[in-house]
């Protein structure tokens, strides 16, 4: 299963043109490398401050654009990653191992990504047996696979 790890913004990360401390960058790099080496990191990106972004507000048929920056740093997002792990607990364990990358307090939110299994119907034993038998018929390499 996949989880989106959402790193919330801080006053620091919201500062325009502010680059993170090099030592912190190195620590983050090492941590991300660890995630990669463990085969759990699918994607990773950091976000520019909200001053470079915008919001589109939906109300009925109207769409109103509001340019950044936005206040309330803790409700903004500074970056995200996608982890593929076995459980929420595993995602939590990985996140806890990350370095603290802010001077102030901040939060990292972990949310499960919807996947096929979440929609899959629950099949009866008989149906499963049918699939199993059918699977046995499938050659390893089929034409038009």
């Amino acid at each position: 299963m996949r989880f989106m790890v959402i790193v919330k913004a801080t006053a620091e990360s919201e500062k325009e043109g502010a680059l993170p401390d090099p030592q912190l960058m190195a620590e983050m790099g090492k941590y991300n490398e660890e995630l990669s080496k463990a085969g759990v990191l699918l994607a990773l990106d950091g976000l520019h401050p909200s001053s470079k972004g915008a919001r589109v507000k939906f109300s009925g048929k109207s769409r109103t654009v509001v340019d950044g920056p936005f206040t309330e740093a803790k409700e903004l997002i500074a970056g995200f990653s996608i982890l593929q792990v076995k459980s929420l607990e595993e995602a939590i364990e990985w996140v806890k191992r990350g370095p603290n990358c802010g001077a102030g307090d901040y939060e990292v939110e972990i949310r499960q990504v919807f996947e096929m299994e979440d929609f899959a119907p629950i099949l009866s034993e008989e149906q499963i047996q049918h699939k199993v038998e059918r699977r046995a018929q499938l050659p390893n390499q089929t034409a038009n696979k």
């Binding site: 076995k86 364990e93 096929m116 899959a120 099949l123 499963i128 049918h130 499938l138 038009n144």
Partner: protein, 435 residues
């Protein structure tokens, strides 16, 4: 006590946390212990004992700050105790026990020492789990157990067998490794390539156990694809200079990208050309294409996994089936058939040729395979042939071939499809040329 008992709920949550820690740490703990004990079976037993100790103690003490170090230290203490007990009888172990103690005393920061060599130890663990002395299914079970951190029960469910059967398979495999004194090392020189291909075979077998079963049945099986992908990605970081490892990862990423388009809501298989391509997972496709790039940067020669990955990539890049670069697929299949000669690959190549150069060109190649003994009972041979004949307007012959294919397949749904196609040949006798 009810299931909603807060104390019990808390206990269950902690149990899941310990399972997660185990999933993350077990391979490294087992790898480190194997290096110390030179016995992968013993190392795994010790690690399991450490896990049991964690399950006993952490509910009282809380999860330690560095759970991996805790598990390793606990397992190591047990190893030392064990060696001490055996010391009188077995001098070799006594020495090893002393070495262990000495190591512990001279290097208080054993964990960082472990950390530096952990990549090497993990790779050694991969090779020992996939040692060709073991039957393939044992290699797969052992790899999932030692490197994937799966429980015996999970492996049993993944391979649709019973827990005792898997447990026995693993015990037997560990005994074989001990009896034959299989060394804990990364093979060198010429042996490396052969042994690596055994590792890749095991990972791809695990993937296919999940993938060919991904027809919407039990939910455990897409998970098996994820396990295989995780193992592949780990291996790619352990052996970054091996193009075939990236090739396998690319192949699995791209195939996995189609998982959700590959079955209907009722669990029926959807063939590649009928899949809704907007459902393909672009993140996995992107990762697959990147892995192909990594392989290309290392070497210009292409092994079988990389070639298959590139074929998969041709489909992944096409937004609609008609945009498929069949010319390129033909080239790739031609190269693949040279690297691993196989009638099944020739049949695939014939299909690609028919798409690139028309049904007659494909049919000529298919006809050349007619006498191939290994394809005699293979329903896709008459099925492909029937399709090409149909496209050439040779409907009576197409009908015979569709019927032959239907008789050969034991897959009920596929048989139905083939018989429908056979019938369509009959209902349209005036139709003489469809290109």
């Amino acid at each position: 006590m009810s299931a909603t008992d807060p104390h019990q709920a808390e206990h269950q949550a902690l149990h899941r946390t310990i399972e997660a820690v185990w999933r993350i740490e077990s391979a490294r703990v087992i790898a480190g212990l194997t290096r110390l004990t030179r016995d992968v079976g013993l190392a795994e037993d010790l690690a399991q004992e450490a896990l049991l100790a964690a399950l006993e103690q952490w509910p009282q003490s809380g999860v330690p700050d560095n759970p991996a170090a805790w598990l390793t230290a606990t397992a190591k203490r047990r190893a030392i105790d064990l060696f001490r007990r055996n010391a009188v009888a077995q001098r070799k172990h006594e020495e090893l026990g002393r070495e262990l103690e000495a190591l512990e005393q001279t290097s208080p920061d054993l964990d960082s020492t472990l950390d530096n060599t952990i990549g090497d130890d993990l790779l050694r663990l991969v090779f020992i789990a996939c040692d060709p002395i073991l039957p393939t299914e044992s290699r797969a079970a052992l790899t999932l157990r030692l490197l994937g951190g799966l429980t015996t029960d999970e492996i049993a469910r993944a391979f649709l067998t019973t827990e005792p059967a898997i447990a026995q398979r693993i015990v037997r495999a560990k005994r074989t490794l001990a009896d034959k004194h299989i060394p804990f090392e990364v093979p060198r020189g010429l042996e490396f390539a052969a042994r690596l291909s055994s590792v890749l075979e095991v990972i791809y077998l695990i993937f296919n156990e999940g993938y060919s079963a991904t027809t919407g049945d039990d939910l455990m099986r897409p998970t098996l694809c994820e396990d295989a992908l995780r193992l592949g990605r780990i291996l790619a970081e352990l052996t970054p200079a091996e193009p075939e490892v990236h090739g396998l990862v690319a192949l699995m990423e791209i195939q996995a990208s189609r998982i959700r388009a590959r079955i209907t809501s009722t669990g029926e298989l959807v063939l590649l050309f009928d899949q809704n391509r907007t459902q393909w997972d672009q993140l996995l496709i992107h990762r697959g294409l990147n892995a192909i790039e990594r392989a290309h940067k290392i070497d210009t020669t292409r092994g079988p996994y990389l070639l298959q990955a590139e074929i998969a990539a041709c489909h992944a890049r096409a937004r609609t089936p008609s945009e498929t670069d069949w010319q390129r697929i033909v080239i790739l299949y031609t190269e693949l058939a040279q690297v691993i000669p196989s009638p099944v690959i020739e049949l695939n190549r014939a299909v690609a040729v028919s798409m690139a150069h028309g049904p007659q060109a494909g049919l000529t190649l298919v006809d050349a395979l007619a006498s191939e003994p290994s394809l005699a009972r293979y329903h896709l041979l008459p099925s492909v042939r029937a399709d090409l004949l149909y496209k050439l307007g040779r409907h009576p012959e197409a009908r015979t071939e569709f019927e032959r294919a239907a008789a050969l397949t034991r897959n009920i749904r596929e048989r139905g499809l083939l018989l429908t196609r056979a019938a369509s040949c009959e209902t349209d006798p005036t139709h003489s040329s469809e290109k």
